[in-house]
Structure formats: C-alpha cells, structure tokens
C-alpha cells in the first residue's frame, strides 16, 4: 500500500519534472564552480586560528587557507572564494542543499556523517588532528574528570562534543548536567559567568577561546582527552570529480611540505624542473610534464598555483597556529610523518 503510494508520487514527480535533472558525470559541481568562477566555502568564522574575521574584515585561519588553496587549484586564483559563516547545526544542511560547495569548518569525520545512510557527505583528508578536552578554572582545584562529579558542564549543541561528553562520563559513572548553548560564544560566556564548572570542546577551540580571556593563565585545560577529533573538509556525497579535486589539492599541500617546496622557493623549483629533464617526479608534481592535473579536471600547474598563494601545509600552520601566531598550538600529531606526525600524502603519480 505504502509502496503503491510512493511509486505513484514518484511517477507524478517524473511527469511534472521537466527541468529537475539527476546529476551525473557532466553535472559535477566542479563544472558549476568553474562556470561560476567562484568557490563558495562554508566556515565557522568564530574560531581564532581556524577561521576568524580579522580586524580588516577578512577571514583568516587554517580552515580559510584551505578554501583559498582549493580556489587556487580549481580556478587558478585564491581570491575567488566566497565565505559563508555557518553554525554547527547549519553546516550539513547547507552542504546537502548546495548552498555551499565545500565545508571547511572544524568538522570531525565519523561514520554517520560519511555514510550514505547518514549525512552522506564525502570527506577530504584530515587537515587537523584534534581531541576533545575540558577547561576549568585554576581556582576550582579540579585535576581529573572525577573531580567533576555532580557539576554543570557547558557544551555547544549540534556537535559531536555533546555525545562524547556523555559517553565518557557515563562510562566512568560520573553524573553531570549539560548546559547546552547553540554557539561557542555563549558556551564561553556561560563558563566565565560560573554557570558551569567546566566547558568542553575540541582542544584547539579551548586554546583559541582561552586566548581571548582577560586572564588566560587562570584557566587550565585538563590532560584527559575525551575523544579523537580528526577534522577534515567535506563536500556533497556522490560527486567524485569534485571530491577527488579537493582531496588531491590537500595532499599537494602535504607533499609540498615533504619535499620542502614552500611559497618562498616555488618559482626556483619550477625553474629547476623546467631546465632539468631528469627530475621526473618533480616535473610531474609541478605540472611541467602534463598529465596529473587533467586527470582531475584541473589545470596542469594547479600545484604551483596552490603553493604560490597559500604555501605548503607547514606555511599555513605556522602562520595561524605556530609559536609566533596568536593561538600557538604545538604541532604534535599535525606534523608530517617525516617528523613523527600523522600527515602523509600518497604519491602524486
């Protein structure tokens, strides 16, 4: 009975749908982005170091630079990006409805989000390995999770943090009350105004938030890690051309770091590759010998454009999260595998 109704509706919709076309190979969003001449990128806009509106009215951060790198790779110009600030609950809807092309907004990869039975998005390589932590006031004398028995904990809604908090605390048999706000700003306010003994979020976000406090040294981030949070950009599922392009542009950032090619020496490297025919792998990587780019539907010199505009992964990291930046976070897992980190690029062949 239900099936009859559904097939009736489907039949009706096919009859009435003259213009709704099912997306195929030719209908990849990659072509749409090229036709439009602009990449629409969803960011947070509220996390210093990742995506934050600077005093000059421009977005800055590692998530923002990923968008710029993608625009440079796809369109040849890192300025051809439009940023859309999104809250955590909005982000997947914005991606599914096609309001944005790419989501570059501290998004944790997990099974439900990746699978076609869940959010159905396709994830790019991890650009930042993070973990959920708790921040407390030094004066409260809290040293471990057990000291948080029966207390309020401020948490943002629409994120995996809420679920991780519950999983961890239930497992350890610690009872608590979540005070849940929609936005990180309000989580911080609630915590600072003593509504909660602790606030929880990804370690990087806590570090970024603490940076803005009037007295950062009065707050400590507890050692216990509640979850692993591999953060990665995402695009809509079922669009291989676009997701491949995104994936390999990001790998190119890692590969360039592995090969010590940065925005300061990229021109030299291109010159060297042009003049020396024996440097086959470098010639391939920089598009002097054509082939790699066109397989992805990108210009052959896409790697050069990317590195010219944003630098390699290390350049991006040092600029926004390095020791001299305003939100210093030690590289740790976010180093290249050559230095004991987790970032590694498969061969660009």
């Amino acid at each position: 009975m239900n099936r009859a109704l559904l097939s009736g509706l489907v039949g009706l919709s096919v009859l009435t749908s003259g213009c709704a076309k099912i997306e195929g190979e030719a209908g990849s969003r990659l072509n749409l982005i090229k036709r439009r001449g602009e990449l629409v990128c969803g960011v947070s806009g509220k996390i210093p170091g990742f995506s934050f509106l600077g005093s000059d009215g421009k977005y800055k951060g590692i998530d923002v630079d990923i968008c710029k790198a993608l625009a440079a790779g796809i369109l040849g110009d890192s300025r051809k990006v439009k940023f859309r600030p999104l809250t955590a609950p909005e982000r997947f809807t914005a991606l599914q409805t096609g309001e944005i092309d790419v989501l570059s907004r501290n998004t944790t990869i997990n099974l439900s989000r990746d699978s076609s039975g869940g959010n159905g998005v396709t994830f790019a390589p991890v650009v930042f390995y993070d973990g959920q932590r708790l921040m407390v006031k030094k004066s409260a004398n809290i040293n471990s999770l057990n000291d948080l028995q029966n207390s309020n904990i401020c948490v943002g809604s629409g994120t995996t943090t809420e679920q991780n908090l519950n999983d961890t605390f239930q497992e350890k048999n610690i009872s608590y009350t979540p005070i849940k706000y929609q936005d990180i700003d309000q989580v911080v306010q609630g915590y600072l105004q003593n509504r909660c003994k602790a606030m929880t979020s990804d370690g990087s976000q806590l570090a970024a938030a603490r940076f803005g406090f009037s007295n950062p040294s009065n707050h400590i981030i507890l050692d216990s890690v509640l979850s692993k949070e591999p953060l990665a950009p995402a695009s809509r599922g079922g669009d291989q051309r676009l997701s491949d392009a995104i994936r390999w542009i990001i790998y190119a950032l890692f590969e360039a770091e592995e090969q010590n090619i940065s925005n300061s020496n990229i021109q030299q490297q291109v010159k060297m590759a042009r003049s020396n025919k024996s440097l086959t792998s470098l010639r391939r990587f920089l598009g002097v010998d054509s082939g790699l780019g066109s397989k992805l539907g990108l210009p052959d010199d896409f790697v050069v454009k990317v590195i010219e505009s944003t630098g390699n992964y290390k350049d991006i990291y040092e600029k926004h999260l390095g020791e001299k930046s305003s939100v210093p976070i030690p590289r740790g897992l976010n180093n290249t595998y050559l230095n004991g980190g987790l970032h590694i690029s498969p061969p660009l062949k």
Partner: protein
C-alpha cells in the same frame, strides 16, 4: 451565469494552489531521490545518548530519541504556558495603566511599552540570562518573606526550584509579550463606547466594579483575537530558548539532527510539533471567544 462564473473562478484558484503544492512536493521527492538518503523514521527508537539539563518527566541518555523529543516538547509547553499566564497578567496591568488617569502610572506604562517593543527579543533574553541572572551572587536574595528567592542558580518560587535558564526565558518572554498584550488591552478598553464609562460613573459605581462588570466584558470581544495571535507569537518565540541554554523542543531536535543526520525528518517533526502546539492554543482561544460572545449576546 453569475454562479457558474464564480464556481469557475474558484475552480481555477483551486487548480493553481494544488499545482503549486505538487511542484513543491515534486522538488522534495526529486531531491531526496538524488541524495539517495530517503525518508526514514526508524532512528526515533534508537537510544538518544545525550543528557538533558532539565525534564518534566524522568529522562536519561539511554532513552529513545522519540522520548527526548517528547521531553523537549513538554519543556516547551512548560515555558510557553507559564509565560502565557505571566505575560497576560503583566500585560493587563500595563494596559490598564495606559488608560489610567493617574499621570505617574500612565507615564510608567507608556514608557514600558515603548522601551520593550523597540528592543529585539534575543537581546532581551541575553540580558536577562547573562546580565541579570548569572551576574547575581550565590547567596539568594529573598523577597516577600522568602516566598521568592533569586540567585545565580535560578528562582525559588514557594519552594519550587526553577532553573536559571527557565527563569530567564520565562521573564524575558513574558516581559516582551506583555508589551504587545498591553496595547491590545488598551485598544479593547478604548473601543468601548464612552457613554458606558460615563454611565457607570454617573451611577456612582466604584471604579473597580465599573471596570470589572461594565467595561471589561464589553472590551473582551475586541481583545481576544489580538490576544490569540500574541499567544501564538509567544509560542513561536520560545524557540529562542536554545540561545540561553534551555532544553526546549528546538534545542533537542537540533542535537537529534546532528547526531542522526536526519535533517529533513527532524524538521518535519519540528514543524508538526509546533503545528500541534499552536493549534492547541488557537483552538482553546476560539472556544473561549465563542463562550464570551454567547454570554455577551445573551445579556
């Protein structure tokens, strides 16, 4: 001929409306087919896995999503109904103040309406929550011999503890809606013929009895329709709860949608629950309206 023409016109309008609806439905179906996700409500019976800061009935994270949504709905009902009562009370007082012959009361209530109506509700909620309540100290301030106690932990009313989120939302929503209700009450009172006021005053009836027995019953038919729409607004505005951390239906569906990835189904349920909430309010008000009109007509 004329009748035929009218029927034809109605028929055309009907066809247009139906086709618009079909186009929208078609878009939804095509899009769902395209994303290959499909509609499913099976997730409703899975364990929610998140805790709620407050609930009217017992709730723990191993209960289902369905139960979590029900608790959210009940939390919404709780704040909507109590704000509705408080807003009507404040609104009536202020509305009467607006027609008062006492200069001080008049100025106070007029400024209340002007001031409150100019400021967006979200800002007012932030004010009540972050500035008014959370800035208080731990030691409760007692009023009316301890019947009401206020601290940064919330309100204690006659021994009942109300969370600080609920209290801020209750007060913010009530004070905001009361300003609009006051204007409706004032409009209702001024719609009563001037002769009626003069009549009870010349009969020497005390002001209180005159207002309650003569003016108020005649003002009610003019007040009720406007009041209904304010009540509906209040119910819809209650979704701003999520901004100040109150676990209402919107906040719960928000978490549900994130965890399950079922955005379309989640929003459908949210739409339906609000439809039910608002239908209950408007139906109740319709019944009150009908009863009052009957009494007025009979007398």
């Amino acid at each position: 001929m004329k009748l035929n023409k009218r029927i034809l016109l109605q028929f055309i309008v009907f066809i247009v409306l139906v086709s618009i609806f079909l186009v929208l439905l078609n878009n939804l179906i095509v899009n769902i087919l395209r994303t290959q996700i499909g509609l499913s409500f099976k997730w409703l019976l899975q364990p929610a896995g998140f805790a709620l800061s407050e609930s009217v009935l017992p709730f723990n994270p191993s209960n289902t999503y369905l139960w979590a949504l029900c608790i959210g709905w009940l939390n919404s009902m709780k704040v909507v109904l109590s704000s509705l009562i408080l807003a009507t009370f404040i609104g009536t007082l202020i509305g009467m103040g607006r027609i008062s012959r006492n200069r001080l009361i008049y100025i106070f209530s007029s400024s209340y309406v002007t001031f409150i109506r100019q400021i967006p509700l979200l800002l007012q909620l932030f004010f009540w929550y972050f500035v008014a309540f959370l800035s208080l100290s731990d030691i409760p301030l007692g009023y009316l011999g301890g019947l009401i106690q206020i601290s940064n932990q919330g309100l204690f009313l006659l021994g009942v503890k109300l969370s600080v989120e609920f209290s801020a939302l209750l007060i913010g929503l009530s004070i905001y809606t009361a300003a609009s209700i006051a204007e409706i009450i004032r409009g209702g009172f001024t719609s009563v013929d001037k002769g009626q006021w003069e009549a009870y005053r010349s009969l020497g009836l005390p002001e209180k009895i005159g207002l309650a027995r003569i003016i108020f019953p005649q003002a009610l038919p003019a007040i009720l329709p406007g009041l209904t729409s304010q009540y509906l607004n209040l119910a819809k505005n209650s979704t701003l709860a999520i901004a100040i951390g109150y676990a209402d239906i919107y906040a719960v569906s928000d978490t549900t949608i994130t965890q399950t990835g079922r955005a379309i189904e989640g929003f459908l349920l949210l739409l339906i629950s609000f439809l039910i909430l608002n239908l209950v309010i408007s139906r109740a008000m319709e019944m009150v309206n009908k009863r009052i009109l009957e009494t007025v007509n009979r007398s």
